[in-house]
């Protein structure tokens, strides 16, 4: 497979990097000597060298356009671009790298400035927030990557429970869950986690989501959709390209009515998700199950009844 030169990364061959006169290095050079002892020298020189490592989205506009044209023209797998992520290349939405072109530090260097959010940090924010923490994506500014917050703690303070970076601070789930149930008893502002298991009929294993990271049913369902896609994602052929089948199955799941979302409440009953107000749902939900539509038929009436009894 031949990748356009602009997409090459460096560091493959110390030999070629030493004679680096042009910025563009062929992707498939001869045996890279990755254990070269002079690598240190080369690395130390990096700061002096202007490296244009083309981040996706930081291509010059006409280059982008030609890639787009190529991708559209040949639905050919061999160019490495599947139709499915094409929109990401164009809109730059997925990774936000298009921000990198025009950002304050858009000089293309790989070096991260010490004291500011670099563009790549911004781009990283969606990646930091895994599918489980969808809301964090919307609050990029509040994600604690900025040293600004250390300098002026007294100034405009983000909401009391700020958007959480996944897995930070590094506290084990067992402890987080224990603390959550502690604070639920004591105070109003629950800063803990409410992990529930999500099982999907036909899937080989369970997933877990933290209900506290969602504010409403919409957020929850979009996160679950992402999770669904995990089960069907990336069925790559042996040459490493995504199969068309994977894509169409994904579409079916997202838009079709195959699956129904249900939950087990505190009383052990299985209810349809969406019938009760969000807060009531999060309080009583013990686990989630994505059921086949056919199995869920009997649920609706009970959910209504229960609601009536509770209200």
């Amino acid at each position: 497979m031949s990748t356009p030169l602009e997409h090459d990364y460096i560091g493959l061959s110390e030999a070629s990097s030493r004679e680096r006169s042009s910025e563009k290095i062929p992707c498939s050079s001869s045996t890279p000597s990755i254990e070269d002892k002079t690598s240190t020298d080369t690395l130390l020189n990096l700061k002096e060298t202007e490296l244009r490592l083309a981040l996706p989205g930081s291509l010059s506009p006409d280059r982008k356009l030609s890639l787009l044209r190529t991708a559209l023209d040949s639905n050919d797998k061999s160019n490495g671009f599947a139709v499915y992520p094409l929109k990401n290349l164009v809109s730059g939405a997925k990774r936000g790298f298009s921000d990198a072109i025009d950002g304050p530090n858009g000089n293309g260097k790989w070096v991260f400035p010490m004291n500011g959010i670099s563009d790549v940090d911004l781009a990283k924010a969606p990646v930091l927030a895994s599918p489980r923490a969808v809301p964090a994506m919307k609050e990029v500014a509040a994600v604690p990557l900025s040293p600004k917050s250390t300098q002026d703690k007294k100034n405009p303070v983000p909401p009391a429970s700020k958007a959480q970076v996944v897995g930070w601070p590094p506290i084990r789930s067992f402890r987080k869950n224990t603390m959550a149930s502690n604070s639920a008893k004591n105070s109003d502002d629950v800063a803990g986690c409410h992990y529930v298991k999500v099982s999907m009929d036909g899937a080989p294993y369970l997933r877990k989501v933290d209900l506290n990271t969602y504010k409403n049913y919409v957020e929850l369902s979009s996160a679950l959709e992402k999770m669904l896609s995990c089960f069907t994602i990336g069925q790559c052929s042996s040459s490493g390209f995504p199969l068309r089948d994977g894509l169409s199955r994904l579409m079916d799941l997202l838009h079709g009515s195959e699956y129904v979302l249900t939950y087990e409440d505190k009383d052990g009953d299985w209810m349809l998700v969406g019938d009760v107000p969000w807060e009531m749902f999060t309080e009583s939900c013990k686990r989630l199950r994505i059921m086949n539509g056919s199995e869920a038929i009997g649920l609706a009436p009970r959910a209504m009844e229960k609601c009536k009894n509770q209200n």
């Binding site: 990748t3 997409h7 090459d8 990364y9 460096i10 560091g11 493959l12 990755i34 690598s39 240190t40 690395l43 130390l44 990096l46 700061k47 490592l53 490495g80 599947a82 992520p85 997925k94 790989w110 070096v111 991260f112 010490m114 790549v120 990283k124 895994s130 604690p144 990557l145 040293p147 250390t150 300098q151 703690k153 700020k162 959480q164 970076v165 996944v166 897995g167 930070w168 601070p169 590094p170 506290i171 084990r172 789930s173 402890r175 224990t178 502690n182 008893k185 800063a191 080989p204 294993y205 997933r207 877990k208 995990c230 994602i233 990336g234 790559c236 042996s238 040459s239 490493g240 390209f241």
Partner: protein, 585 residues
Amino acid sequence: MQKKRAYSFPDEVLEHVFSFIQSGKDRNAVSMVCKSWYEIERWCRRKVFIGNCYAVSPKMVIKRFPEVRSIELKGKPHFADFNLVPDGWGGYVLPWIVEMAGAYPWLEEIRLKRMVVTDESLELIAKSFKNFKVLVLFSCEGFSTDGLAAIAAGCKNLRELDLRESEVDDLSGHWLTHFPETCTSLVSLNISCLGSDEVSFSALERLVGRCPNLRSLRLNRAVSLDKIANILCLAPQLVDFGTGNYTTELQPDVLSNLTAAFSSCKELKSLSGFWDVVPAYLPALYPVCSRLTSLNLSYATIHSPEIIKLVSHCPSLQRLLVLDYIEDSGLEALASSCKDLQELRVFPSDPFGVEPNVSLTEKGLVSVSLGCPKLQSVLYFCRQMTNAALVTIAQNCPNFTRFRLCIIEPKTADYLTREPLDVGFGAIVEHCKDLRRLSLSGLLTDRVFEYIGTYAKKLEMLSVAFAGDSDLGLHHVLSGCESLRKLEIRDCPFGDKAILANAAKLETMRSLWMSSCTVSFGACKLLGQKMHRLNVEVIDETEPPCSRPESCPVDKLYVYRSISGPRSDMPPFVWTMDEEGTILH
């Protein structure tokens, strides 16, 4: 000329000598001396430790060590503890149990960490190993109380059942009743991770009552204070005890009964549990405090004055786990009462709050470093730090073996000088020559990695988050840290160059984890292609890495050495780069 044998010990003598060598490392060294020692050693090796269950296959282990009695396996990468490894990644123990069921009928001990254990696995264990004695499931998941019932019923000589911090599916509270009345062999039972209703208390009491050798008992939260006195009276020989809920409705005799019960425990050295503490009942512990060497109050929401009162009764304390409610003042008191302290862990009571809720700063840690000369192991969560404090700490405690500092806000600078904390951590690695484990936090540049690469020669495990400026940082670590075995990195601007330049180093390590860094998919492919004894796994839950340009960074990367090739149980969101450059799945 006749060939003279270098030595002429019969094999049995050598075997006898080897039996005194217990440590895995030493055994490995012994086996490398010569072919005949390799042979003798492998036949008499009884205990195997496998730090990464995917580094080797069960069949290979069995082939080399046919007479194993005890096995320890670790599965998921450490960052799985913080939800960075998606569910379904792997770490299944069943294939191991299946193979061992056939090959090791006399297996006695299984210790697992961060693995997925199913009820089927537990049932197979109960059925297959007639002399099974020890089951430790540390931070495992995937099983229910049904599996526990099978173990209880099937393992007639069970000595140890330790479920520390595992996730157990609560199906029935009565699994404890499956221990037959004839079972009297229990030495250690840790069910502290079980939920509210998963234990039948009467069955527990009967079990405790009939096991005279019970030394360690850790109850779960469902057990309330009034019940503890009974348990302690049944087992006064306990050395390690984990309370349940340290609370109960106010009743007249609870305190006196409890105090009497604790007084009867003359061997008690270690206490834990303490959920929902009612401070009024803490004095019940005073009879045992003078002997206490280990105290885990890390779930106890008691405040500084109460903690100080308790801790000042414990002069022999060597290990303290506590919440940051202890505050600087409490740590100062600790420093003056507990001169034997070796390990301190301070956890955050409100990790997600924006403003500090307690007065715990760098000063507390400095006091402890000053007052406790034997301090070796620290885990400290706080919100501010200075280079000066770190330098002082390093100078006071050159014996640190484990130092983990977590400044809650990423990229927090020295709050006095506004500088990065490079110099502070540099002092730690420079002074603490025996440092084996280090976790960094705060604002850090490539410079800190230069210090680490230069000084941290015994460092085995390094955790890095939100630090560094460029690949140079990672390069310093990979090229300088000679003893490095585990490296885990998140949210750092480290990319291809350092990894590819130090690819050979990765084969000398157990594993490398990098998430939210800037390692490109192309580099991963290349690494997998060139290094045949490394498994290069790319994890991406959102879309296949091959659907993007090769220069795109991968979401998560896990590289580990393995002699059994790529694994065959990968979920859809994990890709491995193999020798031919194809992506397996």
